[in-house]
Symmetry: C2
């Protein structure tokens, strides 16, 4: 490994091992640390690099500050055949949301469709991780979350009362990769702003504006402005609806109650997420559905193209290809991030990333 | 009533009566005609003027061309506690979707959450009509539909394989109007392009591009280009997911199977829609939820504003205010539309709009 500006290739097993021991050293039980490490590594494998190991320093800081309950008593607090709400007791978000998805899959197998929401949860990484989980059961996943910091004002306003509140969907295909959408309701997710800052690159116009409404291009000045929603007032509306569904409905934080987990490492966030799982078997023959999806995907890909366009992508296709390449060749991590993790390993007194997988 | 360029104010009861007798004259049974007339009038009352009586000529043309089944045998073709699929047997979309929403409300009361989809349906008017219906039962409605004509290519492509596939949500509030979002996944709905053409106005840049990727501003040349999705590839992804959920999942048309109902009045459209209903009572005390929504709405409205912004709106607030004003003062209809309806009344041999409500 080098510290020049070229990305460093790290094998997934090695990355997962480092995250695992770092989380254990911070106080997470072994089984929980392994589960979170697996999901964080999965995030990096699929190229969601704003939500993988880059978040580890922040998670560890929060755990050590007492802002995460490392021994949560997660419980179902309301339940019907087609729904449940899980109180995560302020555990790691990855654990709370995984539990919610597992329960929703079980319920959908009986009811056809099921919704499971969370409260008392925390930042859980990329939305697509969870929307994808039902796919291997021939089920559709639709995921909504309240973002972990408010960066979006109402349309025309400047008070940051909303977050990037993402929507994700995972839809089974047959021979094609599943259709997986994962999108912030803002033009850019805040993680992408951070990545730009880390790489020392300016942001494109249209990502952020300042409090006077002027374009904001310097990612290190992100705190002076706010994100723009997709489609103007439409994205504002979507962010609001997602927040009501993922937050308010389950009694989780929304609006001015959202804690900025980038700045505040100790206050309980009461994060909310929701997963809707749809069992294809309830609607007919899953194989027929998947054949229709394949046909649609191929029609889209075969579309005549605009001048200068090399290829048409279907949502999820690029992360699928990345996942295969990174699993084979290693995950490219920014050299600065690797250097930061090396310093932190020393500080946390854990074996560094370079050590063999534990 | 006058025929100059000022809009003509028409009382809701009078408009509903005219739609009712026009649909009956076209062959719809009395109860069905009354139900569709009520919903179309409701569309105009809330200001969804691209989806109200303006569609009557097209609906009547399709009914008379045999493109709608006026005696449909609507049936539930698959069912679980939390879901159902209704085959609308090519009946009027308003009737099929109303039936779907009623069933979803019943199922949600038992299961907490329920999804009911349609196939063999037709254009059903504004999405918000249906997303709103659960609200009076202290339930949330989320609605997805496959648009009735393809105007959107995949991102980077020029083959129009997708429609404006809308998303709508209706969320109960306490003292505030319900939060109601109703949005096409394209920057502009195709109805807005038609309105610009009717008014002889150019389109803003960003609504449409031509087959070379150049901005298309002349709405009379709309057939030479296509709509742009919100947020670029994100809106493309959303339109695709909505189409898979509202169409493919229920065995309804999607992609190249979508019939352009503006040009073709006889071919069965096999339109698909889906409603998700969430019963607030399953999650806790609906009154507490509605109080939280009120507080959030008020926080958003009270946000400090960007320079030059007079007021911050919450989705659904403007249509709520319009509905109250139009119910009191009459619905403003374009003079040309009123003239067109007068000619059609003669042609259809029904009493004109001016006649007293039946």
């Amino acid at each position: 490994m080098t510290t020049d500006n070229k990305p460093v290739l790290v094998q997934a097993g090695r990355l997962a091992g480092f995250i695992d021991r770092s989380l254990q050293a911070a106080g997470l039980p072994a089984a929980d640390a392994a589960k979170v490490a697996g999901l964080m590594t999965e995030a990096d494998l699929q190229g969601s690099d704003g939500h993988g190991v880059i978040r580890l320093p922040q998670y560890v800081k929060r755990i050590r500050a007492g802002g995460i309950n490392t021994r949560p008593d997660m419980r179902v607090v309301s339940e019907r055949p087609g729904m449940a709400v899980i109180d995560g007791d302020n555990g790691m978000g990855h654990l709370v949301v995984s539990r919610a998805v597992e329960l929703a899959i079980d319920k959908a197998a009986a009811s056809g469709v099921a919704w499971v929401g969370t409260r008392g949860s925390n930042h859980a990484g990329p939305a697509s991780l969870y929307a994808r989980m039902p796919v291997r059961h021939d089920m559709i996943g639709l995921y909504f979350a309240v973002g972990s910091a408010n960066h979006l004002p109402p349309w025309g306003g400047i008070d940051m009362l909303l977050s990037t509140n993402p929507i994700a969907a995972g839809i089974p295909a047959g021979h094609e990769p599943p259709v997986v959408l994962d999108m912030a309701t803002t033009v850019a997710a805040y993680g992408k702003v951070k990545s730009k800052a880390k790489r020392g690159e300016p942001m494109p116009e249209g990502w952020m504006i300042d409090r006077e409404g002027r374009p904001l291009l310097d990612p290190t000045r992100a705190h002076e402005g706010f994100l723009l929603p997709i489609g103007g007032y439409k994205g504002y509306g979507l962010a609001l609806i997602v927040g009501l569904l993922a937050g308010t409905l389950q009694g989780a934080a929304m609006g001015r109650d959202v804690v900025d987990f980038n700045k505040d490492h100790a206050t309980v966030t009461n994060t909310g997420q929701a997963i809707l799982v749809i069992d294809l078997k309830a609607f007919g023959d899953p194989a027929a559905f998947k054949t229709s999806v394949d046909r649609l995907v191929r029609d889209l890909r075969a579309s005549e193209r605009l001048p200068g366009v090399d290829r048409i992508w279907v949502p999820g296709e690029q992360s699928h290809a990345r996942r295969e390449a990174y699993a084979r060749d290693g995950i490219p991590l920014a050299a600065e991030l690797v250097a930061e993790l090396r310093d932190l390993a020393r500080q946390w007194d854990v074996a560094p990333l370079e050590a063999a997988a534990s």
